[in-house]
């Protein structure tokens, strides 16, 4: 009789979303951004996305073979890491540098810390920061959109193959501040593959929100807090009010807010924690952009908040129904 009962800890109700399903839904949601990148930056953008995805999956496979773990590449998490990292790279980045970023993201950040679910920070973000610190020049070479039209067949090659690179490169709109809002919204500006087109990212982000893969807390808190801070800063410094939508649409905040600040592993569990996480990201991005030497602080702010996630989780732990807050002395002695 007793064998009929299954004794297990909560949760007892399971949804039908598996890790694999979630990963491929997120990749699906990134497809508009990949398509936009291909239109804006040519076939090399697509090549870079496929290459990074492939290298990441291969790295995960080799790591798991070497560590004699179960092979879990089919869950799509390594593929997603590669695709996300590719969308954070400039289109002219040499392939070997992109490969180093992927290997670092999957092997060091994810597998060495115990694989999916144990990584302390978002692998794609960490990979990007690694590349940014290692190859500062290549990582901040931004070509103008549709640069490939003037190049013909050489467009699959890296920056080395582009003659007159200076003629097709420019600062990101974040640094130059001269793009108009419509170009920023559709993505007709220089930048990383996947960050330029706010429209394509929003389509993917809203899709994820509607099917419930991500919650609204972190993106809304991130974009909202950044908007409020930029508004206060603009008012205080006497600038034009268009600076606020400009700050939201330029740089990588939309990509970061919808696809990286919502990572299950490295962001807080509760809604309250996610809100705190988003506000922290917004605050750090604002501070880095306006007061530090770097033009963009999106990846650094998300990385820093990743590290704070365990503490946010502890602060925002859900109290069981009816439980009383235990006084500090009692909890340490007991």
């Amino acid at each position: 009789m007793a064998s009929l009962f299954t004794v297990s800890p909560s949760p007892h109700i399971r949804g039908n979303l598996t890790t694999q399903k979630i990963m491929f839904l997120v990749i699906l949601a990134l497809c508009p951004a990949i398509a936009a990148a291909t239109v804006l930056f040519g076939l090399r953008a697509m090549l870079l996305v496929v290459f990074c995805g492939g290298i990441s999956v291969l790295t995960e496979l080799i790591c798991q073979k070497l560590m004699k773990k179960d092979i879990t590449v089919s869950d799509g998490s390594a593929l997603l890491t590669g695709v996300l990292l590719a969308l954070n790279l400039p289109v002219t980045l040499p392939l070997w540098e992109a490969a180093i970023g992927c290997i670092f993201a999957v092997a060091v950040v994810k597998q060495l810390f115990g694989g999916l679910g144990c990584n302390f920070a978002n692998p794609a973000i960490t990979g990007r920061v690694f590349l940014l610190l290692s190859f500062a020049g290549d990582m901040t070479t931004w070509v103008k959109p549709f640069y490939y039209r003037s190049m013909g067949s050489g467009m699959l090659s890296s920056s080395a193959g582009i003659e007159n690179l200076d003629a097709v490169t420019g600062a990101t709109p974040l640094a130059s501040g001269d793009a108009d809002l419509l170009s920023l919204f559709v993505g007709n500006v220089g930048g990383s593959l996947g960050e330029t087109s706010a429209l394509a990212l929003l389509v993917g982000g809203v899709f994820l929100l509607l099917i419930g893969v991500i919650s609204y807390h972190a993106p809304v808190a991130y974009l909202g807090s950044l908007a409020v801070l930029e508004l206060i800063y603009t008012l205080a410094s006497g600038g034009e009010l268009t600076a606020v939508p400009y700050a939201l649409l330029s740089g990588g905040v939309i990509l970061g807010a919808f696809f990286m600040a919502t990572d299950y592993v490295t962001t807080p569990i509760t809604g309250k924690g996610k809100l705190l996480f988003g506000i922290g990201c917004g605050l750090l991005t604002f501070v880095i952009r306006e007061f530090a030497s770097m033009p963009e602080g999106c990846s650094f702010s998300i990385l820093l908040m990743n590290l704070l996630t365990p503490y946010i989780d502890r602060l925002t732990m859900t109290r069981p129904l009816g439980a009383k807050l235990v006084a500090k002395e009692e909890s340490t002695n007991g």
Binding site: F130, L133, S134, F135
Partner: protein
């Protein structure tokens, strides 16, 4: 006493950097190049051998209550000596090591060996212990410096490495790269020497045993 063992244990078995994790500050700060690593390692080795010998000779004369100030005075004298020597004969190294040369005074490897070994053993064993530990420190720094210089600057001991030009990863010469390299070197050395973390750390191996008074042993039991 087995003098050979006293010398050899510092190389791998009890390597001050890779096993005891002592002297992290110079290890991370000066290993942006292989030459700096050797220079720092040899300077520390010199101080370590000399201070170990003197402290060992004076081990019955130094009163327990003021042993730390006495050790520091002895160590600082030798650091001043090596500082003048390096300044005089290798000015380039003196410039690139900067304040870290003087900071050998407070390097915990030297104080650690004085306290753990030289104050309890005879001068010959202490000198061999200092030489072994110093050589282990030098080898670790040289290894770290080589890795960071080859990948970070594309050179080795100042000579350009073929095939690395234009393919350098500058993170390796940044502070973050120092921590990364150290982690990987420790992991590889552990794998080679097939060392597993101890299942239970007894009071014999615990560095805090003197101050804690076996409190943890009782708590476990």
């Amino acid at each position: 006493m087995n003098y050979g063992k006293e010398f050899l244990k510092g190389l791998i078995q009890e390597n001050p950097v890779l096993v005891s994790l002592l002297g992290m500050c110079p290890t991370l700060a000066v290993t942006t190049g292989a030459f700096n690593g050797i220079g720092m390692g040899l300077s520390t080795m010199f101080v370590l051998i000399c201070s170990n010998i003197v402290i060992s000779l004076l081990r019955r004369a130094i009163p327990q209550q003021v042993k730390l100030p006495c050790y520091i005075v002895i160590i600082a004298s030798f650091v001043t000596l090596i500082q003048f020597l390096v300044h005089g004969f290798v000015p380039a190294l003196y410039t690139s090591l900067g304040a870290f040369l003087e900071l050998i005074t407070v390097n915990c490897i030297i104080l650690g060996r004085a306290e753990m070994f030289a104050s309890k053993n005879n001068p010959i064993a202490s000198a061999l212990d200092g030489a072994g530990m110093g050589l282990g420190f030098t080898l670790a720094l040289f290894l770290m410096g080589s890795i960071r210089e080859i990948f970070g600057s594309g050179t080795w001991m100042g000579l350009s490495v073929p095939g690395m030009a234009g393919h350098t990863i500058s993170l390796f010469v940044m502070p973050a790269g120092g921590f990364l390299t150290l982690g990987f070197v420790i992991a590889i050395v552990c794998a080679i020497s097939n060392r597993k973390p101890p299942k239970k750390l007894g009071c014999a191996a615990c560095p805090n045993a003197a101050s804690c008074g076996a409190g943890c042993e009782e708590a476990d039991a």
